[in-house]
Each structure stands twice: as C-alpha cells, then as structure tokens.
C-alpha cells in the first residue's frame, strides 16, 4: 500500500534565543493509504502542533512533511489553497459547521468550492448521508441538530470530497458518550467502507480504540506505537491502550 503521509524528523521550537522549548522533537512516522491512525498523548505533548503542521496551518522548524510525496512547506498562495482543497479534509472538536446553512448546503459547499457539478454533488451527498445516517437532518440547520448529528455532518463534509487524508482533531471532545460512540462507528465505517485514510488526534481512550494503529506522543517524541491485530477484538485493543496510557502518564521510577 502506498504511503500517503510521511513525517520526517519533524522539529518545532517555540520561543527565541536562550529560551527555547521544543514542541516536536525529531518525530517521524508514516501513514499508508486506507489506514485509521490515532495519535494520543497528554496535554502539551505536541499533538496539536503536529496536526497543525500536517494541515499546513503551521510550519515546522526542521524536518519535512510529505503528503503524496509532496512537501507541504514549499506550497504557497493558490497552490496551497488548491492543495488543501484537494488533499485534506478536516473534522474539528467544535464541529465548525456554518450556522447559516442547512446540513445539505454545508456538505454541498465543500463540493462546490471545488467546482463540482451539481448533479454529481447531489449523488455524493446522498451516498455519504446514507452511510453516516444523517439523511433525516440534511435539510435542518445546525441549531436544530444534536451534537452527534452535527459532528457526523461535519464528518460527511470532510470526506465527501474524497480527500487523500482526513484530519480529525478531538472529534468526540464535545460529545456525550452515546454520541461519541455513534460518531466513532461512523468514522470506522468511513475507513472500512470508503477506505478513507484518517489521522485522528484524541486523548479519549474509547475513541482511540476504533483506530487501527495508535501513536503515543510524549514530550514531542513518539513514545510508543501499538497496532491492532487482525483478529483482536476492540475490547482487547482498548485494554492495551489503557495499559500504555498508564505507563505514558508517568513512569514509576520518576517518582522519588
């Protein structure tokens, strides 16, 4: 399977001379096509910085981020706009739906900014709505929907354009446990049925258990990585994640 995302020796420093703190410290990993990768770590571990650098919102101090072998750092202006439009889809913690537009219009907008034909767009919207179970709310406004529905609409909007990479930043952060479950199942479906490549940042263990592989970050470095075996149940995978997060939280010998 081909590599979609390749992060090589990523380093990011904040501050100026004499007072430098590293948010990312020589961090490398790859994501292949069709993977569902979770990134976990405590607050301040560098998760968000990493996501920002991948999504071209921020730039690295050193190292490279390659998406489909293209260095995102050298893109500028129109090229960058086009790259973002074509290659990336975003899901945010606070949904970021346009409150003035219906769900259908929100999803359609993602297609129309890419110049998609109206007829084709309608078909695509119908497909994705069916997959994510949001057909009933398509003509409602965000204020008429529940949080889970909003986030599924946001997910639909992120993937309807078939981006190379879907970046999800704490997608369940603002949802209750029931909605979280429904959303994660939806994301799982997107991964298995539509073969969307998803990179999800979270610190919720339950959400993370839907991923196929999890990277643990600590102090700007990859602490460890666990992969779900083919025959492993989600329950077992969940236990392993909990184990790692316990260790991640603090090593015993650090306690004096």
């Amino acid at each position: 399977m081909s590599v979609i995302l390749d992060v090589q020796n990523a380093e990011k420093y904040y501050g100026n001379k004499g007072n430098i703190s590293a948010a990312l410290n020589d961090l490398s990993f790859t994501v292949s096509e069709g993977e569902f990768v979770g990134i976990m770590g405590a607050s301040g571990s560098g998760k968000t910085t990493l996501l920002n650098c991948i999504s071209t919102i921020d730039t690295l101090s050193a190292g490279r981020v390659l998406i489909r072998d293209k260095n995102v750092a050298i893109l500028k202006g129109k090229e960058l706009d086009r790259f973002r439009a074509e290659c990336l889809g975003f899901i945010f913690q606070d949904f970021n739906l346009l409150d003035t537009m219906t769900a259908r219009e929100n999803i359609a907008l993602a297609l129309s900014v890419r110049g998609e034909d109206v007829k084709k767009a309608d078909e695509k919207i119908a497909d994705i709505a069916k997959l994510l179970g949001i057909e009933d709310v398509l003509d409602k406004f965000p204020y008429e929907m529940s949080g889970g529905q909003k986030q599924r609409v946001a997910a639909a909007r992120a993937v309807v354009t078939d981006p190379e990479l879907v970046l999800a930043d704490e997608p369940t952060g603002a949802l209750d446990s029931k909605s979280s479950k429904a959303l994660m199942e939806s994301l799982g479906k997107l991964n298995t049925e539509r073969h969307s490549t998803i990179l999800m940042v979270t610190h919720d263990t339950f959400s993370a258990s839907y991923a196929g592989r999890i990277l643990f970050i600590k102090d700007g470095k990859i602490f460890t990585e666990i992969v779900k075996d083919e025959n492993e149940t989600r329950k077992d995978f969940f236990r392993r994640i909990v184990d790692v997060t316990t260790v991640l939280g603090g090593e015993l010998d650090e306690i004096v």
Partner: protein, 662 residues
C-alpha cells in the same frame, strides 16, 4: 508602562476597527466647519454682493441647521464609539483580571478617546478648510460668478464653533466610555466575544407573500406619484407616503427570506463556488438588521430628493436670470422731460451708456384694467377682493415696443391698425386677461374700436423685475396713440440701457439711489440687483439642502458600515470554516466583497428607485410653476453620494477584511 503609552499602542493595534470611527469623525468635523465657514468667506460675500443682511441671514440659517446637525453627528459618534467598546470588552476584562483598577482602565480609554478626538479634530478642520475653499469655487461656478478677488481664508468663528461642538460631543463620549467600563462585571467583559452568533430564520412562505405584497404596494405608490402626480388627490398622496414607508419596512423584513428562496431555487447558480455561502451571509445580514436597513433606505431617499430638488432650483434660477436680465438697467422717469431730470442729477444718458433706448409710456383714461378685463371682471374681483380695477395701465407705441423687443433679443409684435396687445408677466392676472381676450373683448380708445391682435396675453416684461409680477402695458398701433385725443399725458419715460463699463454703471446706480426724494421721480431696476437677490436666496437654499443631504448620507453610510463591521466579528468564524473547507484566499475575499457590496447596494437601490419616481413628481410640480428639468441636479447629487457612500463602502470592506483576517 504609562497609561499614555498603552493608549497609543491600543490605537495603533486596532487601526482596522478605528478606521470607520476615524472616517466618520473627520468627515463630521470637516462638513461642520465647511458649511459654517463658507458663509463668511469672501466669495460668498461677493455672491451676495456685500449685502450684509443676506450674509447674516445665511450664517444664521446655517448656524440653526448646525445645531440639528451637531445633534445627529453626536448620536452617530456615540453609536460608533459603542461599537468600538463592544469589540474591545474582552481586552478591558484582561486588564482588570491582571489587577488593573477600573479607574485606570477608564483612564486609558479616556486618553485613547482624547488622542483619537484630537487627531480627528485637527485632520477634520484641515480638510474642512480646504473643502470650504473648494465649496466657494463650486458655488462661484454654479452661479456663474467671476473668481477675481478669490482668496484663501480661514473663518475663526466657524473654527471656534466646530471646536466647541466637537469637544462637547467628545465629552459625552468620554462619559459613556467610562460608564461602560465601570458598570460591566468582569465576567461580562471576559465573555463578551462568546456571545452566541445571531442567526435569524424566517418562514419562507410568509416572506415570499409579504415581499410580493410589499413590492406591489410600492409599485402602486411609485406609479401614482410618478405618473399621476398632477391629478392626485391629497388623500391618495398621503396614502402613497404611508404605503411607501410601511412597505419599505415590510419589504426589508421579508427580503431575506425571499432572496434566499429565489436564489436557492436557481440551483446551477446557487451551488457554484461560494455563491450559496454569500447568499446565506447576505440574507442573514438583512434578517438581523432589516429595521435599520429600511430606515437607512428612507433616509438615503430623502437625501437624494434634497439634492436633486436643491440643484434643480439652482439651475432654474440661473436660466431665469439669464432671460430676465437682458440689459444692465431699466429706468422709469415719471417726468415729461427726462433729460432735464438726468442733467439735474448729473448723469445724462450719453455719459454712461452708448447702447440705450428711450421709450415714452402714455396714459389714456380708457385704458383701465377694468376695461381690459371686460366680462371677466366679476371673476377677477372674486379672486382679488381688494384690487382697484380702475387703475390705468400705461400704453406704448407698437414701433417703440418693437425697438424694445430688438434690444431684448425678442421677436417683434405685429398689430393691424385696429388691434391691441396686452403685455403682462403677472401669472395670476393673466388668466383673467386671457379669458377676456378669448371672449374677443374690444376696447375703445379715442373713438376707435380695437380688438385683440393676439389670442393670449404676451407674457413679456418691459421693465426688468426680480419677481416677474409686472402689471405690464398695452401696446397700441402708432396711429392710435399719435392721433387720439384721449391719450394725453406722458405717464413716464423709460430708459433701457447697457453701461459703458461696470464702474460707470455702479456710479450711476449710486447717484440714482443716493437721495430718497428721487423715489417719487424715478424708479430703476438693475440686473445686478436682481441677480443679487435671486442668487442669495438660492445660495441659501442650495447650501442648506447640501448640508442636510450630506449629513444624512454620512449618517446612513456610517450606521451601515458599523453594522457590517460588528456583524463581521460574528462572521469571522464562518470565514475561518470556509477556509478549512478549501476556499482559497481570493475567493474568500471576493465573497466578502460581494457580501459587503450587496449590503450597501440594497438600501441604495431602493432609495434611487424611490427618488426616480419622487423626483418625477417634484419635477412636474416645478414645471407647473415654471421651473425646468432636474437633470443636472440628479447627476451632481449622484456624484456626491458616490464619493461619500463609496468611501464608506471601501473603508468597511477593508475593516471587515482585517477583522475576519483574510
């Protein structure tokens, strides 16, 4: 850090927010100074030909209007200031969270207000000084005056008035600001920017019905006013005004829903690029501010109407002046030997004119107004109950009259030996004269039976007059006057003349006007005097109209601009979202541009349509009292609107762009 430094930094930091505020302040100060100063400037004195009374009246009227204007500007500035405060509540919250006392925060705000006020006052006055000079030149051009003696000057009185007025406004602003920091709790300050974004949705079916009904009612009012203005009854006219106002409000209330439904119906267009987003933004803007938008539209309409009528009165006066002052002076001497009189007071005609005409006016007992009115006298008496109908009208030989016609550049009259003609430019009387002529009223002069030679009164003047209310004269064939015995005395002698040059002319006028006892013996009218009178009246009208109109436009544009700016704080997050969806910078800028433009255009378009029909009505009205087309007035008012409104539009777009961060 000293409070002053913090204040200075704050202003620099929030330049984008301050831009509209600054623009309004500077414009306000400049307009205020400009109109107050222009009255005392040399060129205006010249316009009113140093007649101190009219200059004083002008200054007084403009001063009176200025009180109202200061009030409007004051409210506007406070409104603009509140927008700034709202935008910066969180900043003040942080200051207080960091332990700064409320009084220190107020102090910073106080210093900020002072700096901004000071800079805008200075800038406004500088622009106002330049502007008032330009205004003088424009006035001079408008009324075809020469610009010699034009000099650059500053009016200390206007300066003082402007400073006092605006310092008062700033003090009110200061009180508001201090209060707004002190009365807010910290939690409100901190949470100020987390207020839920406003989305107003209305029932589309109700909107469509209401929109169509409002539009139909407006069209009814437009057509009535525009095409049937002359025959309209008072009640229908009042109805039109009420329908116009009410339906403007309902139209704006329902426009959002209507436009939304209309646009989303056209799928191909709606679903192209960011169109859907722009339409939603625009309709949301209208929905949240339909009331103020309707009000703005009505105010703009009034401003446009003011401009176009004001200017058309100006062009009417200019045209009329040109026709009513064909020579420099007309003198009526009520003595049989005019030369003796002129020699006596030391101004024989030859000494001051090479191009002149002497015409004797005769008197005949038979030529009373009553005789000329014939059977119409009953109707006329009803209209003018106190009139003395036995007054004798002067008569002139046909040949003499035709020499006057030649001098004035008009067509000669033709009369047979048994015909007469009435010369009169007094409209109210003419209808009765015309009635008499239609009935073929004959008059009897020295035994000759004379019938009307023309089928209406000749609406011309013999002696120049500013009012065009000459009682006129009767023109009779030469033979009738020269042979008749009933025509005995010479009523007066006319001298119609052009001066050798301006200075001799002035000297003659001075001599004629020097002694009150001459009033019984001579009556003179000069084109200089007529021009002076009509120009000073119209200058005052034009200025008041311009003043009020400009202030209206500024107020409308500023309110609209501030509304857009505070809305854009809400829409900033939406623009962030469409950036995330993949809309590039240029397409986001285009979307914002269209959004702001539509908000500015919508009320203006309605106002322009209102004005087109309203102006038609007024034009018909003006025509009926003898005025001419309003074309030039409309063009000029469009230009003024464009500059002010366009300036606000661009400033707003830039401000929104900065707030949204594109």
């Amino acid at each position: 850090m000293r409070s002053f430094d913090i204040a200075l930094k704050n202003i620099k930091k929030s330049r984008g927010d301050y831009s509209v505020y600054f623009f309004t302040l500077i414009l306000g100060v400049a307009i205020f100074y400009m109109f107050n100063a222009v009255g005392t400037q040399g060129i205006m004195k010249k316009a009113m030909l140093s007649s101190n009374e009219t200059v004083e009246m002008f200054v007084r009227i403009i001063g009176g209007v200025s009180v109202g204007v200061a009030f409007v500007l004051g409210l506007l500035i406070i409104y603009a200031n509140n927008f700034l405060i709202r935008r910066r509540k969180k900043e003040f919250g942080i200051y207080m969270l960091l332990g700064m006392s409320a009084s220190k925060v107020s102090k910073i705000l106080f210093i900020e207000t002072c700096i901004v006020g000071f800079i805008s006052l200075i800038a406004g006055i500088l622009i106002g000084i330049i502007g008032s000079q330009c205004l003088s030149v424009v006035v001079a051009k408008m009324f075809v005056m020469d610009l010699s003696g034009f000099e650059f000057d500053i009016s200390p009185k206007a300066l003082l008035m402007t400073v006092i007025c605006f310092v008062c406004i700033y003090i009110v602003v200061l009180i508001f600001n201090t209060a707004s920091v002190r009365k807010n709790r910290l939690i409100d300050l901190m949470m100020a920017d987390r207020k839920a974004e406003k989305v107003v949705l209305k029932n589309p079916a109700v909107c469509i019905v209401l929109f169509v009904l409002s539009l139909a009612a407006l069209i009814w009012a437009w057509v009535n006013v525009g095409f049937f203005g002359k025959t309209m009854t008072r009640n229908i006219f009042l109805g039109c005004i009420i329908v116009g106002i009410v339906c403007t409000f309902t139209l704006f209330w329902s426009a959002g829903g209507f436009v939304q439904k209309l646009c989303s119906g056209m799928k191909g267009m709606y679903r192209k690029g960011l169109n859907a987003f722009v339409v939603r933004q625009f309709t949301n803007n209208i929905n949240t501010s339909s009331f103020s938008m309707a009000l703005i539209s009505l105010l703009l309409f009034l401003a446009l109407l003011f401009f176009s009528t004001g200017f058309s009165i100006r062009s009417y006066v200019n045209a009329r002046l040109y026709n009513s002052t064909p020579v420099d002076i007309t003198v009526e001497i009520f003595e049989s030997d005019k030369d003796a009189f002129l020699n006596e007071i030391g101004i024989p005609v030859d000494s001051w004119s090479k191009d002149y005409l002497e015409v004797p006016v005769f008197m005949g007992d038979d030529l009373t107004v009553a005789n000329l009115l014939g059977d119409q006298i009953g109707a006329a008496s009803e209209r003018f109950q106190l009139a003395d109908w036995d007054v004798v009208i002067g008569t002139i030989r046909l040949s003499d009259y035709n020499r006057i016609q030649d001098m004035y550049g008009r067509k000669p009259l033709e009369l047979k030996d048994d015909e007469y003609a009435i010369i009169c430019s007094f409209d109210l009387l003419n209808q009765f004269f015309n009635g008499a002529i239609k009935e073929g009223n004959t008059i009897n002069v020295s035994g000759c039976e004379l019938k009307p030679g023309y089928d209406a009164v000749v609406e011309e003047f013999i002696v120049m007059s500013g009012m065009e209310t000459n009682l006129g004269a009767v023109v009779l064939p030469d033979v009738v006057i020269d042979s008749g015995d009933s025509i005995q005395a010479v009523h007066s002698n006319l001298v119609i003349a052009n001066y050798i040059d301006d200075n001799t002319g002035l000297a003659v006028e001075t001599v004629l006007g020097s002694d009150p006892s001459y009033a019984d013996r001579v009556f003179f009218t000069t084109s200089r005097e007529i021009r002076k009178q009509s120009i000073s009246i119209t200058v005052i009208i034009v200025f008041v109209v311009l003043y009020i109109g400009v202030v209206f436009v500024v107020a409308c544009a500023a309110i609209l601009a501030l509304k857009m700016l505070s809305d854009s704080i809400d829409s900033a997050s939406r623009y962030k979202v469409i950036e995330g969806i993949g809309a590039g910078r240029s397409s986001r800028m285009r979307a914002l541009f269209v959004q702001v433009l539509m908000n500015f255009l919508f009320p203006l378009v309605l106002a322009v349509i209102d004005c087109m029909f309203g102006a038609r009505f007024i034009q018909e009205f003006l025509e009926s009292i003898g005025m001419i087309s309003m074309g030039s007035g409309i063009a000029l008012s469009c230009f003024i609107m464009l500059v002010i409104y366009g300036g606000y539009f661009l400033t707003t777009y830039e401000g929104c762009r900065k707030i949204i961060g594109i």
